[in-house]
Every structure is written in structure tokens, then in C-alpha cells.
């Protein structure tokens, strides 16, 4: 085929936010039918770049050429009119509306609800994406929601489809189906921009890749002809490609857990027996007959797409939700099901929640205050009269900052001023420096840059060596394979029996994640 202009060309596109260069002179060229990966670690600027292409954000410099002609994409509506569709990482569907209503809003072309419904049915059978137009979105699973998002884009016959981290919420089987659909689209001439940090997928699916690091293009290649090592080198720079083990450890031993009375309990980890909890939230998931245990010195992982009861399990283990039956949860042999958060923490439990800002830390409080948030239970930060010992609190915060290499001005900086990775390091550090004998953590390295993520994982391994029982809830199968000794899968409030990691594969876990049990 003779030179048809590329569907999309970015020429030195930049976006600057008050002194911070999110994107620096990025140039990319995407011909029709090509599946083009945009690769980079968290914080490299991929999302910002896509927002500019889709009109959510305006560039501060550079040009966008659409089919050879320079254009200004003033808004998402303008982008759609040009023929650009985008599926966001965090979906933009309205939960209280039906699928058809969501689509109708999106299309904005005066179609009647029934014609929208008809169009949805047509496309869904054509591409094998199964949806029910009259169901409310809050009833749909995550995978189904993504199908709706994709379908609504396809209804406008886009020439370019942008997908932002599409597989982070899918089971391996759903990933396969997505790839089949994308390849079909590509063969029909649609260009695809595929944003991801998952190297294996990119190597399988994409024709070309542009690599971003710290807002700049650091490489351009055909991913199938590269090795993972070379790709990673382009992502984080050769100099740091060898993962440093930063030696983040909480040095004293956790062999003994002292209760308030000063007695030492025998360490026996976490045991859950026949745990059933009815969810109070109409959109929540009820837990059904969960039974498992985590021994001291092991990491047990729970895999599964979010929305299958993980959040509810975390709340019941941490003490936010209390049970009538105290024996359903044993922390170091102590019946804890009905105990409060503070008592469980005094018995050696620590928790790292998924949400950093807003749950794990208070955004407008200083790091010092945030250290006090859970440190008050174990770190003698209160005087005898019940007043806060500010100096001790500041000292604890400084200890966390230095042991875990948190980049920040001082312990008085507000939590919201830290980057995602640094805040996560702080929170993990705060919990680990309390020497827990049982640790429950959810998505500990989500949205964190590669360096920090590896430091955090090493810290978890070190904690395991010291005899802590760790329950790791994560959507990231790679992380689970790397860290866990045994793995379970959560599906609709149930847990599959734990299997040694060595006996599990992506495929077998994927089946369990889709509900195919026994």
C-alpha cells in the first residue's frame, strides 16, 4: 500500500504542569491497523499523553496530526467526532444507569433508546462481547463493565482505539478474548494504542512499541523482537536495571508479641474458620464459609479480580467489621472475631489497605500525624495522662522515612505531597516498624514505580524471614507468583483451597478466577 498518512502522528507533544513536565516532546507515529504499545512504568506519563490525544487535557506545546492534518482536540466529544475512542483504566460508567442509558449518553446523537439497544446487540454478537442492555451497571462484574466501555466506543466506528491498562482487571481467559477482539479490529484497519506495563502481553499482541520514561520517549521498537530485559532497560534506564535491594528492614525480631499485660503469646499466625459475613452494603459481596490459615513465616496470597469479597475480607480481619462469633478468626491463637481494631493491633496485627490517600493515610495530615494513626497502639506515643507525646511521634515518623527511603522534605510534610510510591513506602514502613506477627495487605505495590515496588516486595520477604504470617491480597498475578508460598483464589465471596505456588499456573488460577471450581 502506497503512503497513506498515518492515522495518528504526535509531533513533539508536551504537557507542563506548573514546573513539572508530565510529557516532554513526545513523537509517535501510528499507521492504520497497527497495534501500538505505549510502555512505561507508573508515573512515566502514559496517561497524560492519552488524555491529550483524547481531548481531556490540552497540550502546552507540539502538534497532533490526524490522518496527516494538524488538529486541535478540544474535548472528548471532539475526539469522538474525529474517530478516536478511549477505554479508561478506571471506567467512566454510571453505576445507577443501565447499559443502554450509559451508551445513549455517550453517543450524544439523538438516537432513541430502542435503536441504541439494537445497535448494542448487533455489535456485541459481531465481536463476541456479551452484554445485556437493560441491566444496571452496578450489577455488572468488572469484566462485563469493560465490555460495555469497549462496545460504546465501537459503536462510533473509531479509526483509533485507545486502551489504558485494559487487562489489570481481567482473568487470563478474559484477556485472551480481548486479544482476539483487538486483533480482529486491527485487521479491519482500526489503529490501536495499547497502554500497559505488562511486557508479556505487549510482546504477544503489539506490532510496535514506544517506551516512555519520566515523560520522555526513551525507545521505539518491535516488542516481539526484544527481550524482556531490553524492554525493562528502556523503561527504567540501564543504570538502575539491576534491582537494588535497599535493605529496608525492621531489624528487631518478631519472635514474641507482647500484649498489654506483658505476657508473650505463642506465635501461631492467622487462622480463619468457617467465616461467613453478610455484606451490609447493597453493592457489596457476602463472604461464605471461608477457612484457611497462614502460618508464621509464610506468605499466603489471595488472587482474584477486585469485587469478589477481598475488601470485605480485609475489613473483617482488621476489625472494622466485628463478628458475633469470636472463634471464626484466631490471631496467634486468640479468638479475635469480636475484638476491636485497637485490640487486634495490640495483639500483633498490622494492616496495609489498598487505598493510600484517604484510608491508609489522611491526606492533609503531616507524616508525623499519619505515623501516629496506627503507631499509637504499639509505640508508646501517649503520655500517662493521655496526651500525645509529639516528640516521640516525630521520631517514629523520621525512623520510617529513613528506614524505607521515603522521599520527602520532612516528617511535617502533608501526606498528599508525596508521590504514590513514596506514600506507599511510608505506609508499609509504618506498619512494618511495628513488628507485626500477622500482616494483612491489599495491593501493596499498586500504582507504584518499579524501584519502589521491588523495595516493598523485598521488605515483605524480609518480614517473612522474621517469622511474620503474611496474607497478601493482590490482583497482580506476577506479584503473587513472586512472593507467595501458597495461593488461594477469591470468587464471589468464596476462597478456593490454598495450593502451593509451585503447583499453580496462570491458566489454573485464571480458571478459578472465572469461577470454574472443582
Amino acid at each position: 500500500m502506497v503512503s497513506a498518512p498515518p492515522v495518528l502522528e504526535l509531533q513533539k507533544l508536551s504537557k507542563v504542569y506548573s514546573g513539572f513536565k508530565a510529557n516532554d516532546e513526545i513523537s509517535i507515529c501510528v499507521p492504520a491497523g497497527e497495534i501500538h504499545a505505549v510502555l512505561g512504568e507508573n508515573g512515566a506519563g502514559k496517561s497524560t499523553l492519552m488524555k491529550m490525544v483524547y481531548g481531556v487535557v490540552q497540550p502546552t506545546a507540539g502538534q497532533i496530526l490526524w490522518r496527516g492534518k494538524p488538529v486541535e482536540v478540544a474535548s472528548p466529544m471532539a475526539a469522538r467526532r474525529l474517530g478516536i475512542g478511549m477505554v479508561f483504566q478506571h471506567f467512566s460508567l454510571f453505576e445507577s444507569l443501565t447499559v443502554a442509558e450509559n451508551t445513549q449518553l455517550f453517543l450524544d446523537d439523538g438516537q432513541s433508546p430502542s435503536s441504541v439497544r439494537g445497535a448494542l446487540q448487533d455489535l456485541s454478537s459481531r465481536y463476541g462481547l456479551d452484554v445485556q442492555p437493560d441491566r444496571h451497571v452496578h450489577d455488572l462484574s468488572v469484566g462485563a463493565r469493560q465490555r460495555v466501555e469497549i462496545l460504546r466506543c465501537l459503536l462510533q466506528s473509531p479509526k483509533l482505539l485507545i486502551l489504558d491498562e485494559p487487562t489489570s482487571v481481567l482473568t487470563p481467559q478474559e484477556v485472551e478474548r480481548l486479544f482476539v477482539m483487538l486483533q480482529r479490529l486491527s485487521s479491519e484497519g482500526c489503529a490501536i494504542l495499547y497502554i500497559s506495563h505488562k511486557l508479556q502481553e505487549i510482546q504477544r499482541l503489539c506490532h510496535r512499541a514506544t517506551v516512555l520514561q519520566a515523560g520522555r520517549v526513551t525507545g521505539s521498537c518491535s516488542p516481539s523482537q526484544e527481550t524482556q530485559a531490553t524492554l525493562v532497560a528502556m523503561m527504567i534506564g540501564a543504570a538502575t536495571a539491576a534491582m537494588p535491594s535497599a535493605g529496608m528492614t525492621s531489624t528487631s525480631s518478631t519472635q514474641e508479641v507482647k500484649t498489654k499485660a506483658g505476657e508473650a503469646h505463642r506465635l501461631s499466625g492467622l487462622t480463619v474458620k468457617d467465616l461467613s459475613v453478610k455484606s451490609s452494603d447493597p453493592f457489596g459481596v457476602s463472604l461464605k464459609n471461608l477457612t484457611f490459615s497462614v502460618a508464621p513465616g509464610e506468605i499466603v496470597g489471595i488472587a482474584g479480580v477486585s469485587g469478589n469479597g477481598q475488601r470485605e475480607l480485609l475489613k473483617v480481619l482488621s476489625g472494622e467489621v466485628r463478628l458475633d462469633n469470636s472463634d471464626a478468626i484466631l490471631i496467634n491463637s486468640l479468638p479475635s472475631g469480636s475484638l476491636s481494631v485497637s485490640r487486634r493491633r495490640r495483639h500483633g496485627l498490622c494492616v496495609i489497605p489498598e487505598d493510600r490517600l484517604g484510608t491508609g493515610a489522611v491526606p492533609d495530615f503531616s507524616l508525623s500525624d499519619n505515623a501516629f494513626l496506627t503507631g499509637l497502639y504499639t509505640k508508646s506515643l501517649l503520655s500517662r495522662s493521655g496526651l500525645i507525646r509529639h516528640q516521640a511521634v516525630d521520631a517514629f515518623a523520621r525512623e520510617i522515612i529513613s528506614s524505607f527511603h521515603v522521599k520527602t522534605r520532612s516528617e511535617q510534610s502533608p501526606a498528599r505531597s508525596l508521590s504514590g510510591g513514596n506514600l506507599q513506602k511510608f505506609i508499609v514502613g509504618r506498619e512494618l516498624l511495628q513488628h507485626p506477627s500477622v500482616l494483612v495487605c491489599e495491593q501493596p505495590t499498586w500504582g507504584v514505580d518499579v524501584n519502589a515496588a521491588s523495595q516493598l516486595r523485598q521488605a515483605l520477604r524480609d518480614l517473612r524471614e522474621q517469622g511474620c504470617a503474611i496474607l497478601l491480597i493482590s490482583e497482580d498475578l506476577d506479584e503473587l507468583f513472586e512472593l507467595s508460598d501458597r495461593i488461594m483464589v477469591a470468587f464471589q465471596g468464596r476462597l478456593s483451597p490454598a495450593q502451593p505456588t509451585s503447583e499453580s499456573t496462570s491458566q489454573s488460577l485464571g480458571l478459578l478466577m472465572s469461577g470454574v471450581w472443582q
Partner: protein, 356 residues
């Protein structure tokens, strides 16, 4: 092409944290002068009557402090709640109930020196706390919005007082006026200086400011309440009881307002009448905000607000303006504060627009 845009600041500006209320006060005064002019009054005279007269003599300053006392008392109680995310709007009603409980003591056990007064003080605080406990319970148990419940109770409190002074507690020798008998001397709060009306309540107000400050900033309870107010999910994660915050937040407000109510009937008024509801409970909300929910700020803001009150009375006397003028000033002050507060978290800058 450059245009004015708002940019978020990385850290809240401490300078503007203090400057914002000051700017708001200035803007309010300027607008007030404009209103005087529009109403055909000489703005200079208006300024003099409204702002200068109230502080122009020792007696005037004492009266100002007297007016500021219930405002600051109510406001600090409210501020404790607001910082915990508990919106107690019913301080006016809690004020009234404090006055009612204190009156009950005064009418039946009012003649014992020292003991009566102490009992009245406790009764006042209890009255306010009882009234505040209702929205606390309903919020904690049924998640009923405390703004609406506490507010509805204001109307109920006003009707309750009306019933009492027109009915069972009416002074039989009072020419059928809706008021109780005057309290005996033992039931009146002692004044601080001979010949002035400023009384012990002023000192108690200062004390409560200190207590509230220590509670909110240096105690574990205060920390848990602040966390509940800023990040309720984090508070739950950390094991802080939401229920505790709700009760403490409302009861603190109730106790302070109730005490202020007691100080009003056992102080300048000397009896319970149906003119008890003076709007202090609502003005205190503004004082709390303008004072940045902070003890020192509240003290200063209560002085400003007292100035508006007294100024309004003066304006009525000397300028023939309705005394509701002070409510207009109060409302404007809050509006301006909400506007100037933007500058605490955002910066106004001139930036090149879109593409260069």
C-alpha cells in the same frame, strides 16, 4: 493570550490561612459602608456608629466582652464538632435548653449561696447536652442527618420556652408578661468588676477555649475526632469509633451552648423570658468558621461578631436602621470568608492560555 487561572497549591498556604478571615472582615466592612451610602446615610457616620462607638469607652468595651462571651462559648463547642465532621446547627436550641434547666434550678433551689449557682452551671451544661444528645443518638443509630435534626429541635426549643413562660413558670406578679420571676441574688453570676455587667462567665469562656484547644490538638480523643472529620475511612481503618466522634462532637457543642444559655439568664437577663432566643447559636457558627475552628481565632472572631451585634444596636438607635442589619453583616462575613478561603488552597496566576 494570557488568562487568569486557578492553580492548586501543593501545600495549603499558612499565610492565607490567617489572612483570609482578616480580608473577609475588611471586605464586609467596606460593603457595609457601601450599604449605608445606598440607604442614604452618611458612610463616615455609619462607620463611626457601627465600629467606633462600641469600643470608645471602658464601659463599651466591657459590654463588647459581655456580648462576645456566649458567642465564643458556643463557637468553641461547635468547632470541636465541626472538626470531627459533625455539623451541629442547633446550638441555638441547646442554648435555650441550658437556660431552661438552669432556670428550673433557680426557681426551685435558688437561694443557697454558691451551691445554687454551681448547680445552675451544671444544669445549664446538662440541658444543652441533653438537647444535643438527641441528634447524636439519631445520627449514630439511624444515620439521620444531624443538621436537620438539630435544627428542627431549635424550633421545638423555642416553642418549649414559650410554653414555659406563658404557662407554668409565668411570674404571677408579672402583669401577665411572658417571663419568670427575677432570680434571687444567689442565682446570679457574680460580676467581675463593680458597676460593670461583665461576669464570671467571661473567665469560664477563656477556660473552655484552653480546654478545647488541648483536647483537639494534644489528646488522642481529639486526634481521632479530627481524623473522622478529615478522612472517615482512615478513622475506621485506625479503629477510631465513629460513634465516639458523633457523641463527643455534639455533646461538646451542647454543653458549651447550654452553659452560655445559663450565663445569659443568670447574668444580664436575670430571668427567663420569651426573648431568650437571640440568634447567638447561629452567629456562633459564623464565629467558628471565621475563627478557623481554632481557639485563638474564635476568640478574635467573637470580638468581631460582638462588634457587629453592638454596632447593629447602635445603628438602630442613632441611624434609624433596623437592628437586623447585624444579621446582614454576619451573613456577608461568612460569604466573604468562603470566597477568600479559596486563596488558601489555590493560587491565582496569569498563564499563557492553551497553545503557545
Amino acid at each position: 493570550m494570557r488568562r487568569l487561572t486557578l492553580e492548586p497549591r501543593p501545600v495549603a498556604s499558612p499565610v492565607w490561612g490567617w489572612a483570609s478571615p482578616v480580608l473577609a472582615v475588611v471586605l464586609t466592612c467596606l460593603t457595609g459602608l457601601l450599604i449605608f451610602a445606598l440607604l442614604g446615610k452618611d458612610p463616615i457616620e455609619g462607620f463611626h456608629v457601627f465600629f467606633i462607638r462600641p469600643v470608645s469607652s471602658f464601659w463599651a468595651v466591657m459590654e463588647l466582652l459581655l456580648k462576645a462571651t456566649p458567642l465564643a462559648l458556643c463557637a468553641i463547642g461547635l468547632a470541636v464538632g465541626f472538626r470531627a465532621g459533625i455539623w451541629n446547627i442547633g446550638a441555638e436550641g441547646q442554648f435555650i435548653l441550658g437556660a431552661i434547666f438552669a432556670t428550673a434550678v433557680a426557681l426551685h433551689f435558688g437561694d443557697w449561696p454558691v451551691i445554687s449557682l454551681l448547680a445552675m452551671m451544671i444544669a445549664g451544661a446538662l440541658g444543652g447536652m441533653t438537647w444535643a444528645a438527641i441528634p447524636a443518638f439519631l445520627r449514630s443509630r439511624f444515620n439521620a442527618n444531624e443538621i436537620l435534626v438539630s435544627l428542627m429541635l431549635v424550633y421545638v426549643a423555642q416553642l418549649l420556652v414559650s410554653w414555659l413562660v406563658f404557662g407554668p413558670w409565668k411570674d404571677p406578679m408579672g402583669f401577665n408578661f411572658p417571663q419568670t420571676v427575677m432570680f434571687s441574688d444567689a442565682s446570679l453570676i457574680p460580676t467581675l468588676i463593680e458597676g460593670q455587667r461583665l461576669n464570671l462567665a467571661f473567665l469560664m469562656m477563656l477556660g473552655s477555649l484552653v480546654i478545647a484547644h488541648v483536647l483537639m490538638n494534644h489528646s488522642r480523643l481529639g486526634f481521632s475526632m479530627r481524623t473522622s472529620g478529615q478522612a472517615p475511612l482512615a478513622a475506621l481503618y485506625a479503629g477510631f469509633s465513629n460513634r465516639q466522634s458523633i457523641y463527643m462532637g455534639l455533646l461538646a457543642g451542647g454543653a458549651c451552648a447550654g452553659f452560655a444559655g445559663m450565663a445569659e439568664v443568670a447574668g444580664p437577663m436575670g430571668q427567663l423570658t420569651d426573648k431568650l432566643s437571640l440568634g447567638y447559636g447561629f452567629a456562633a457558627i459564623i464565629v467558628a468558621f471565621v475563627g478557623r475552628l481554632h481557639a485563638l481565632g474564635i476568640l478574635l472572631a467573637s470580638l468581631v461578631m460582638a462588634l457587629f451585634y453592638v454596632g447593629g444596636e447602635q445603628a438602630q438607635q442613632y441611624l434609624n436602621l433596623p437592628s437586623a442589619m447585624s444579621r446582614v453583616f454576619q451573613g456577608m462575613l461568612l460569604f466573604f470568608l468562603l470566597a477568600t478561603d479559596l486563596l488558601v488552597n489555590y493560587r491565582l496566576v496569569l498563564r499563557p492560555s492553551v497553545r503557545s
